[in-house]
Symmetry: C2
Subunit: 334 residues, 2 copies
């Protein structure tokens, strides 16, 4: 029998936090008391859990010594303010913001062994949706493809930026269809029927934080700290579901049959045959797997493996991964 745990979810009113609470219930996670927390603006509202209406309280005044495990589905700023405090209070932390540089990135399909090696209480990052998707898809291929370099173009859905971004895409689209003048608010320009070449501001070298995070996390997850990874993250006019064009450069010819078999035998992967292809809206949204399609060599180049991935960025890419990490983690907890 599993011991039930007292748990906190910080950021319970956000897109990811709300889904996370829902998944705790779906997967019958052994929760004793669930504390839902948020920043001042969102505190006071209610979220349903196990047929009960739970009030969301302010994170500022919460005593983290009451809980054994806390999820931080928050902005980096909120995680930076409270995650270390929670950890010092003896609480295992699973952070989804990417703000905790000492935290270890874990995706159960890629590096579950890391959970047994951590000092308690654990300080864990549930990686960015892109790193989760790539780690899930590439982990089964590590022994098959002698990876020299990974090239990724990530097409990110607006929901990664929260509810305001989702409403803004809808509002902009409606205004354009009704031939009304467009006034961008959340995004700095037209997002509807357009592509934005970057997500967030670039640093001095021209890379955005979301790109650097993806590279750092993927190197950790694959256990290849020096792996060459080139990535461009763009913002696309899609509400939910991230998609990735991936090219793996191998040191030798890639055996496509073996690749397909390895993908097929992975539980968290749904491979789509060449006569079809997966899309974010049609396939990925609401699902617990990473869809993999367009499995092929490079043109005139058998040392290259090309893939197309798509996954629910809020669910599999964030909330579900965090809960799946927690499911493994509690086996290691005192």
């Amino acid at each position: 029998m599993t011991t039930k745990l007292d748990i906190a979810v910080v950021g319970a009113t956000g897109t990811v936090g709300e889904t996370l609470v829902q998944i705790l219930e779906e997967l019958a996670f052994p929760v004793a008391t669930l504390h839902l927390l948020a920043s001042m603006e969102s505190a006071g509202s209610s979220v349903m859990f196990a047929s009960k209406k739970l009030k969301v309280r302010e994170v500022d005044s919460f005593d983290f010594s009451q809980v054994k495990l806390a999820f931080f589905a928050t902005t980096p700023a909120v995680s930076r303010s409270f995650a270390a405090k929670a950890h010092k209070a003896g609480c295992a932390v699973i952070d989804l913001s990417g703000a905790l540089h000492d935290a270890v990135a874990v995706v159960p399909e890629a590096n579950p062994e890391r959970l047994g090696q951590l000092p308690q209480p654990a300080l864990i990052t549930s990686p960015s949706a892109g790193a989760v998707a790539l780690a899930v898809a590439l982990a089964p291929l590590k022994g098959l493809v002698d990876i020299e370099r990974i090239q990724v173009n990530a097409c990110l859905a607006v929901s990664a930026q929260g509810r305001e971004a989702v409403s803004e895409l809808a509002r902009q689209t409606a205004e354009l269809l009704n031939a009304r003048p467009l006034e961008p608010r959340f995004f700095d320009r037209q997002m509807a029927f357009n592509l934005l070449a970057q997500v967030g501001a670039p640093d001095e070298q021209g890379h955005t934080a979301v790109e650097r995070r993806l590279v750092g996390e993927l190197r950790q997850l694959l256990g290849m700290p020096a792996l060459k990874i080139s990535v461009t993250c763009i913002q696309v006019p899609v509400f939910f579901g991230d998609s990735f064009s991936v090219a793996l450069q191998s040191r030798r010819a890639v055996d496509l049959d073996a690749v397909n078999r390895a993908l097929d035998s992975a539980d968290s992967i749904e491979r789509v045959e060449a006569d079809d292809y997966p899309t974010p809206v049609g396939d990925a949204v609401g699902q617990d797997v990473v869809y993999v399609g367009r499995v092929r060599h490079g043109i005139d180049e058998d040392e290259q493996l090309n893939l197309w991935l798509t996954t629910d960025n809020v669910r599999k890419g964030a909330a579900l991964n965090a809960v799946q990490v927690a499911q493994l983690l509690i086996k290691h907890m005192a």
Copy 2:
């Protein structure tokens, strides 16, 4: 003084054909008589040229010996049926469909010298919009970057597939915003707020015709027949304007300052500084240049050069390139 030429435009009622006729007028191309042609279904309508309403006639019954130069802004099937006939009748052909395998791909900014080497009458391909954009952006960098490999993710606008595709994206979007059930017609599934992982059907190796065409043409345009080019072309919910994430792998460290200077001194390139970025809708549409932004090294890798390109796929990527080729070609014509 330039001699005026009798010219035919086949496919004059299509998105590209109509723009091509407009550009002939804008650039004061030396036209004597302009013959507008189309397949049976579109013949009979009129197109404005030089303040005159010109009737569009059936291509089937046209005698190509009447003209010295013919543009084929048509489907591959129509080009295959009539371009060789036109060429045999002594007519220089500039084909935009990609169907003529003997034709030489030309982009004036990349390989203008090819026009002087062709047997007359010339048989020329105005390449796919992706190949045009990449050739324009990469030609000035050839001497600076020791290119070993090019990796491209192309996000193609629906207008490349004609007016029906444009209406379909608008119709699907309106239906979704009004919560009506979606019935895909032109595309095989939901295109609004979604990404399609491929444009056209893949061959046995998993590559689409548009991807093979881009690779073949770019190798020709850069004069590097064995260049390794990896490409994924996806369909995005954007009406006009193609965008490209590009990574160039070099054999030595790339000098970013030199790259920026070379891009700045190219007439057909508009470079956008790192504090901003170009988008298809906000920048490229209606313009005669290729926008280049996000110029940067790879993460931890100075041997890689990353770029983001965006261009008007109908204008610069197709119609304008064809007319610019014709402007150079007529200097070589008898």
